[in-house]
Point group: C2
Chain length 220, copies 2
Amino acid sequence: MKKQRSGFQKSLDDLLQDILKMGGLVEENIARSIESLARQDLELAEKVFVVEEIIDRMELEIEDTCIRLIATQQPMAKDLRRIGAAFKVITDLERMGDYAVDIAKVTKRIGDEPLIKPLIDLPRMAGLVQKMVKESLDAYVREDVQMAEGIGKADDEVDSLHKQVFRELLVLMMENPRTINQATHLLFVSRSLERIADHATNIAERVIYLVSGKRVELND
Amino acid sequence: MKKQRSGFQKSLDDLLQDILKMGGLVEENIARSIESLARQDLELAEKVFVVEEIIDRMELEIEDTCIRLIATQQPMAKDLRRIGAAFKVITDLERMGDYAVDIAKVTKRIGDEPLIKPLIDLPRMAGLVQKMVKESLDAYVREDVQMAEGIGKADDEVDSLHKQVFRELLVLMMENPRTINQATHLLFVSRSLERIADHATNIAERVIYLVSGKRVELND
C-alpha cells in the first residue's frame, strides 16, 4: 500500500512538472507576443504560432495523463482534487496561450505601419501579467494559499491599467480618426492581457479551493 | 457488478441532465444579454448578472459531482473519458456565461444614449451562436459525431459575420468620431459572440474525441 502510494506521488510530481513546463511556454509566449508587437517583429509573431501548437499538444497530453492516473491509481479524495485542479489549471493555461496568439495576430495585422504611439503601457501591463502567471503557478505547485491571495491584488492593478489604456486609446481615436483602425486592435491587445490576468486569478482561486476547500473570488 | 454499473449509468445520466440545465441557462443568458443591448433594457441586463451567479454555482456543483463520481464509482476507461469531457464542457459553458455578462455590461455602459445604428447583425449573430450552443450540447449528450461536425460550419459563418460587423463599425467610427466610444463597445460585443461560438466548437471537438478518440480542429 505504502509503495503504491509513493508511486502515485511520483506520478503526481511528474504531472506538476509537465504543467510547470507548459506554463513556462505560455509565459514565454505572452512575452514574445507583446515583444513582437512593440518591435513590429513579424518573424517573432510567427514564432508565437509555432509555440502555441506545442502548448496545445501539451494540454492534451497532460489531460490524458490525468485520466490515466485516475484510472490506474484510484487516488483518494485529496489526490483526486489535485487531479481535478490539474485539469482546470491546464485549461486556464491553454486559454492564456490563445490570448498570446491573438496578440501576435495583431502584430501581423498592423504589420510595419507606423505605430500610433510608442507602446509603453501595454508592455508594462504584459510584465505584470507574466508575473501573475508565474506566481499563480508557483502558488499552485507549492499549494501556497498566501501567495495565491496575492494574485488578487495584482489583478486589480492590471484592471486599472487596462482601463487607463482604454481611455487613452479612445481619446487618440477621437482626436485623430486615422488612428482608429490600429487603435481598435490595440484595445483588443489590452483586453487580451486583462483576460490572461483573469485566468491567472482563476488558478490562484483554484489553489485556495484545493488547500482549504473554500471557493473564493479574488477579483471583483 | 452489473447492478453497480447501472447505478453508475444513472449517476452519469443525472450528470448530463445537470449539464444540460446549466447549458440551458447559458443559452438563455446569451439571448437575454443581446436583447438587453438591442432594447437598451437595463433591468434585463441586471437579470443577466443574477443568472450568471446561478450558472457559476452550478459549474462548481457539477465539478464536485464529477470528482465524487470518480471517487466512489471507480469508472472504467470510456466512462472516465465521459467524466473528463463533462469537466471540460462545463468550463466552456462557464466561459460562455462570462461573455454574456460582458455583453450585459456593455448594455449598462451605453445606457440610454441613442444607438449609433439599429442593431441587426449582432442579434443575428447571437441567434446563430445560440443555435451552436444548443446543437453542441445536443451532440454532446447524444455523442453524435456528425452533428458535432456541423458545428464547424456554423462557426465559419459566425466568424465571417464578426469580420463584417468589425469592418462596418470601423467605417462608422471613421466617418463620425462621435460614434467611437459606443462603437468600440459594440466591437467587443461582436468579439464576445465570436468567442462563445469558439467555445461551442470546443464542445463539438470534445464530442468527437469522446466518441472516436481523435483530436480534431473544427475551426480554422
